[in-house]
Symmetry: C2
Subunit: 925 residues, 2 copies
């Protein structure tokens, strides 16, 4: 090759080397030189070095770009001469001449920075075209229309990008010609018309810029190069770098690449192909091609492309070469490649190779196959699958063909993935009733509240008109693994007529109509679409990858589960413990809610009476009755809870179970204040409300708080009404004893919520230990348990060194910690200003979905302080962030021991934790 | 004196020196030896060294105590011999004999630790009494009854403290004797009866302990010494040290001191006196004495003591000596002393000297006088006055004599100091009506809400049955300088009958009854008590002290004021700026509230319409009308606010004024949801509610939030409805321009509330700067202003380095910062669990009154991070903690530039800031 000698000449001329060329079978650069050559330039060089046929060209370095600006937007000395020399080299390589009317060399001029900035910077194609060289192109292709179309496109592109002519001026001129010809499509214009359009374009350029459109290809090259440099400092690119935290001083490289044409006859063609099937992962070339055509023809849909396999028949030698190249590229890049190629007069050119996008199923199969083929290691396989793809594989999906033909009613947020089919109902009670008689239902609500839980639990899926991706509907749906579409703002739901209407599509549906809901995409379709199911047990490749992930990851993956069925499911998914078992969820179901309400109505009075009793005072008959009522209700609850805990311990036998004592404010177990107020007001007006209703209203009012999120809940509740702590402690420890007697291995960890001051934890611990001793004395068995706390109040994090004195473990409750650190009430913010904040980029993301860096920083403070007091402190996270891959990466950095997430997120978390470990190992190298 | 020689002997005997004696005119110890001798022992030694007549005695060191426990509760070798020798020395000094029936030496055995632990440890008096020595005491005093009474008291005290006999056993025996004699008081028992009591006591000791009551004085001394040691490790003392963070290994000293008797004839006597009048500060001995009496006689009220001046007539020489001693002690300790003395047979003994408690007025006068007399420096004078005393001096007070004779109805929390007299009213509207016709009223409420403000503003004082020292009533009362008693839990208020009843005193009062309220003490009295007023301008001594304070303090003192009158008052009190001017308070008054409501009803819709308009869309007629309505209301508000700001700038001419843009959630300006719901429900049932009422209810519901404290408020509001920011910016800057044109010197600082992310501040700043440019363009004048933010969200503090990029100043909003750092909703917590937390010592104090250390730590993080970005960042506090002395000390440590507090707290803050500076200067030495 000729490059070596000339590059030495260039090195003599300039102090710095600004040009790296490629061509033939060698390149001056390679894949390691991304800083200097940009991603594209380094990639083209690498392909050339790999022996692949790449159209020759050269890269002007990022350094040249920076020097250009440093010199006040002047090309550095010697650069232009270097460019000319590199261009000559390309001419020699291709046998074409830049500006040669007989056999014109055309090039593309493309930007290429260190980091991909898709769409942010400028590209000019077909540079080298002029009225003169156009004739050569027409002669070579035998297609006059193609030649003129290419030329008018070039003027349009160059005029807009390089010469700053407003794009709509060109559009108007094209429209005018189409109108004159009665043409509907651009493709209806013939060569003569396009020639007139080119003339009109040139007139526009003259009018706007005051100069003629350049005819000298070298002048065009000079201008295009400078335009690419300029696009680096343009507003679009600047903003993109700001947002993505890319440094502004990297500069962009400029790639000048020979254009090749697939439409030069039947020995020419063009195509795209994947080295494996990107839908299934099957190991065979997958793609399509067209003879005597350019890429644009495929896009324009003028001709129907053929499957790639057919190329074997038509051009067997080229096909074989392509198959060899595909194999080599896959081995070289060690991943499935997405290839673009053009055959110009029997010669194959590779125009692009990049890692292929693929479906979840393909990603897993390809990763596992490639490990089997010895192409990648298991650790690399882990990095080839996106955590979201794991999630996708575990949800039912609609049959793709049926989906493609379905009628979409509305599109909302993809709040919880999966496909669900059922008949629309508009009320939770109705849902239960319909399901009771064997129907499948989709619950349609404006928004959901805890009162709707029983309906959500029986529905196939949920759709709401209001609320974001972390609204009640979304959070609960993810928790219980139901597909959910939230915040379908265009859907108008009318509970009165039990019907809904979409303001955009105009489609209505009413109660009983079949609908199909895709929680992975946010679509609601009319009718019942067929689904394809995907069970974890049936996916050995996924299990293989997660098995490798288990070997790699440092953090354990636990689950948030409140019921034995959930725990068992999570365990099948690979959970190594329960990080959060919420006892109050057990309070809410059926008869239990009535028992709990009975206790709450008398709790305050009974607690005061008991305190007097403990101080040696005698009680009046009224108070004694109140205490008896309270104790009876609590005893009832204790028995039920013990059963619950036995079930959980059995499901998680041998694994740790973190049980959180009662957390929510008591009014959550009572009817809504407004509803009860209206009920009593109406009854009073109509002659008198019942004593029970009045008493209930009074209790609801007495428990009403301005800001319940910051009110009487968590450990505060247990300190005000100690019986809650006592009863729950007894239920947990007696369940443990019962399991041990049955031959089980329960591992109990009792967790206190909402601790902000070490004294709260110490006081609760004293209550709990006294009760534990009583249980031990009665049972004659010592129940083992660990005692710990949630860190979810900023003060708890800030004083973690003190709190660690009283705790065996911490679990970060990042939902509340985020609420309090930001001062956001999640219930209010997500439906309100937070949406706008994320939209306006005041916040980079919703901090309830992905852990905010300042909240993570506060956690780090707590981790450091906690371990300073107790080096062996066990540290985990049980907020919803525990199932979010980006947050899991932050947990790895902070140094947590485990993440805990909803059962359906466990496989995702296993993979994400492994990826985080790999990143951290890479960083530590 | 003889001590020097024998102390050498002792030093030879024991390796350590366990005994330090005093007597005659010299002591072996002095005031610097508090660690070894305890506070009392060091004090007695110091008085002796100062040449004062102190009854001889000796101290057994704290080291002896520690060695006693280290040796397994055995006296260290040689200690007992040392005690005997020290005792002989005291015998020699006094001419009495320990156990000598003719002339018995009696001693007290008292504990005395390094730190005062009042009431926590044990003391035995009259040790040396026995049946034998008792006869000598009777002979010397000529009073047999006194002798037997002293003896039975000794048995009782010794039996209980040293021999662990239950105290009630002795009480029962005494009661039995009184019953037998038909005696009502102890003093009704004669010598014979008391002798029988002593016998009964001894029988009890025998029965309980199984041994006779010791008759040997040396055995009694041995037992008493060990009992004092033992009291150091007793539960009471241990808990006290835990709570007060005193180390447990300090040990206690034991002081053995000669008893002296003032009842040995007419040349004996006893008395207490202050070196200056503790009520007024007048420079003259102030106190009382009794001839031929003991201290107990004064306490028992058997005889009426005489003013100390009369002693001059009766015992001129002793009086002169006492006057000389008083002067010396005052100069020696450089403070007013509270003295106890006894004259035994013409000889004056000083038993105690300590700094005197004094009234606020006396404290100030004494401090200023002592500076004048050259006794103390101005800096020391600053330290002699408690900040709370300054506050007290600025409030009206009840005439002390009238107060002493008044009937107390109830006692609550002293929430806002001062005396107030008026007729009881039970409703804010009634208060306004009554005051309108010339009455003075006290507003009596179960609790108050913002709806009661107009009533509070016209009332003389406020009393509530519920709510703590930081409840709405308390906070607002302090803010507007009204006396307030909060949380009078025993008061049952019945709005229906307009009457109240105290469950404890049984006293009722009803609407119109005169009551007198003391906010400094928390008392409510029946009737109209006369008051004495105290104006700042009339208190030159107070002004002198505060002037010295101003020279000493590093931090400035600013004020929180929303109105020109408040600002002017604060300026008279010495405020150096306004640290918080809350603009929304201006929205609430009279007609303004209606304007604001009008704007709020259409704000959301108008804002959306304006956004469409800005994007070039046309508006429908409906939307155009909404925008016009909104703009008209906002223009109206702008004009009113500009007037407000001009007034504030005028009052604070030349001083900085920090104006905070609108902060509270909008629903605070609307009627209560529940009330409106009941109203509409009733109207609907009765035939139909008005459209206006329905619309209002809908708006209230749409603005309703689960946790409004964490909802749409602060800067969030301004970002959602930018017109709030624009209108307020225009009002502020145009007011500034108007003031400049009028020759004034306004200094405007605009403050953005509730910032948690730097982008919030940056976005608000952009809005505001655009508006400032528009104002400048229109007026042709450049309005100067600084731009800053509150730090009141934990995330704001944690990311202060980022936020400082956009801010000229920070002001810590510690009310919200405390709420969010603890996760406490103040409105809910203070009436609920927080009271119990403080009561149960889960929290050491209410963190809304005094800055919590973890919150202060978070502020320190913000200060350090903020200054790391911008070294000149101005830092202040505008939460209520800014007026609390303990919190001011923490602000000094954190390094703030100023504190800002309510106008009435400004003088207090000036003193507290000076004291904080002095402490910090001391620490830096």
């Amino acid at each position: 090759m000729a490059t070596a000698a000339t590059s030495t000449d260039r090195a003599h001329r300039a102090a710095k080397r600004y040009i790296y060329a490629w061509g033939g079978e060698a390149a001056e650069g390679d894949a390691t030189m991304r800083d200097l050559l940009g991603g594209k330039g380094a990639g083209l060089a690498e392909m050339t070095n790999a022996g692949l046929p790449v159209p020759p060209g050269f890269t002007i370095t990022t350094e040249a770009c920076n020097d250009y600006f440093a010199a006040g937007e002047r090309l550095p000395d010697g650069l232009w001469e270097d460019i000319l020399e590199a261009l000559h080299q390309v001419e020699a390589e291709t046998g074409k001449g830049f500006g040669d009317p007989a056999n014109p060399l055309l090039v593309s001029v493309r930007s290429g920075a260190r980091f991909s900035m898709p769409g942010m910077m400028d590209t000019v194609l077909n540079l080298g075209l002029s009225e003169a060289t156009l004739q050569g192109l027409v002669a070579l292709t035998g297609n006059e229309r193609f030649g003129w179309d290419a030329y008018r496109r070039f003027i349009q592109m160059f005029g807009r990008i390089v010469m700053d002519v407003p794009g709509e001026r060109f559009d108007h001129a094209l429209d005018a010609e189409k109108a004159a010809q009665g043409a509907k499509q651009d493709t209806d214009l013939d060569a003569a018309a396009l020639r007139r359009v080119a003339g009109a374009y040139k007139a526009i350029v003259r009018e706007v810029t005051g100069r003629d459109f350049p005819e000298d290809p070298l002048e065009l090259l000079d201008l295009a190069t400078k335009a690419v440099f300029a696009s680096w400092v343009g507003k679009r690119a600047h903003d993109y770098r700001e947002y993505n935290k890319i440094a502004h001083d990297l500069g962009t490289a400029v790639n000048v690449v020979t254009m090749v044409f697939g439409n030069m006859g039947d020995d020419s063609g063009t195509g795209v192909a994947f080295t494996r099937d990107p839908n299934t992962g099957a190991r065979a070339l997958y793609g399509e091609y067209l003879t005597n055509a350019q890429g644009e023809d495929v896009v324009a849909g003028i001709r129907t492309p053929q499957p790639i396999a057919q190329m074997r028949e038509v051009m067997p030698a080229v096909y074989d070469e392509f198959q060899r190249i595909a194999d080599r590229l896959e081995r070289h890049y060690r991943d499935v490649q997405d290839l673009e190629f053009t055959i110009e007069r029997g010669r194959l050119y590779m125009l692009q190779t990049r890692s292929a996008k693929r479906t979840a199923a393909a990603a897993v199969k390809i990763a596992v196959d490639m490990v089997g083929e010895g192409i990648i290691t298991p650790s690399e396989a882990i990095g080839r699958i996106e955590p979201a793809q794991v999630d996708q594989l575990l949800r039912d999906q609609f049959d793709p063909k049926a989906r493609a033909g379905a009628t979409r009613i509305v599109k909302g947020l993809n709040a919880s993935p999966g496909a669900a089919v059922g008949r629309a109902v508009f009320d939770a009670d109705d849902a239960v009733e319909w399901v009771g008689r064997g129907e499948k239902v989709i619950l349609v609500r404006i928004e959901t509240s805890p009162d709707d839980f029983h309906g959500m639990a029986v529905a196939e899926g949920i759709i709401t008109a209001r609320g974001g991706a972390t609204s009640h509907a979304a959070v609960v749906a993810r928790q219980i693994g139901k597909p959910c579409v939230a915040g379908s703002a265009d859907l108008i739901v009318d509970y009165g007529s039990r019907a809904a209407h979409c303001g955009v599509t105009g489609i209505d549906f009413k109660e009983g109509d079949w609908v199909s809901l895709d929680g992975s995409t946010g679509d609601l379709f009319l009718g019942a679409l067929p689904t394809v199911s995907a069970r974890f047990e049936d996916q050995p490749e996924l299990q293989a990858v997660l098995g490798w992930a288990d070997e790699v990851r440092r953090m354990q993956v636990w689950t948030n589960a409140d019921k034995p069925e959930e725990a068992a499911q999570a365990r099948r998914y690979g959970a190594q413990g329960i990080g959060l078992c919420r006892t109050e969820h057990m309070f809410r179901e059926g008869e239990r809610l009535e028992i709990v309400r009975g206790a709450i109505l008398v709790a305050a009075r009974a607690t005061r009476a008991k305190a007097r009793l403990a101080a040696g005072e005698a009680l009046g008959a009224d108070d004694a009755e109140v205490v008896a009522t309270f104790d009876a209700a609590m005893a009832n609850l204790e028995e039920l809870q013990q059963g619950d805990f036995e079930g959980i311990f059995e499901a998680m036998d041998g694994l740790p179970v973190v049980i959180r004592l009662i957390d929510p404010p008591l009014h959550e177990f009572l009817p809504n204040l407004e509803e009860q107020l209206v009920k009593v007001t109406r009854a009073e007006d109509a002659g008198g409300a019942s004593d029970a209703d009045r008493e209930l209203l009074a209790t609801i009012k007495s428990l009403h708080e301005q800001n319940p999120m910051l009110g009487l809940r968590g450990c505060r509740l247990g300190l005000m009404i100690p019986d809650f702590v006592k009863v729950q402690t007894r239920a947990i420890l007696n369940a443990e004893i019962a399991r041990v007697k049955a031959g089980g291995h329960p591992i109990a960890k009792i967790m206190i919520p909402l601790v902000g001051h070490v004294n709260e934890l110490a006081a609760t611990r004293a209550l709990l230990e006294a009760e534990a001793k009583a249980v031990e004395a009665k049972a004659g068995v010592h129940p083992e348990y660990k005692f710990g706390t949630m860190i979810e109040v900023p003060r708890g994090a800030l004083t973690a060194d003190e709190i660690a004195r009283e705790a065996d473990f911490f679990s970060f409750g990042t939902n509340d910690l985020t609420q309090m650190t930001f001062g956001y009430s999640r219930d209010d913010a997500e439906g309100g200003f937070l949406l706008k904040y994320v939209e306006d980029k005041i916040l980079p993301f919703n901090p309830f979905q992905t852990l905010d860096d300042a909240v993570a920083g506060l956690m780090k403070i707590a981790v450091d302080k906690g371990r300073s007091t107790k080096p062996g402190l066990e540290l985990g996270i049980c907020g919803e962030h525990g199932g979010d891959p980006a947050s899991i990466a932050k947990c790895e950095k902070i140094g947590l021991d485990y993440v805990s997430c909803s059962p359906f997120r466990v496989p995702v978390a296993r993979l994400a934790a492994a990826q985080a470990s790999l990143v951290s190992a890479e960083r530590d190298k």
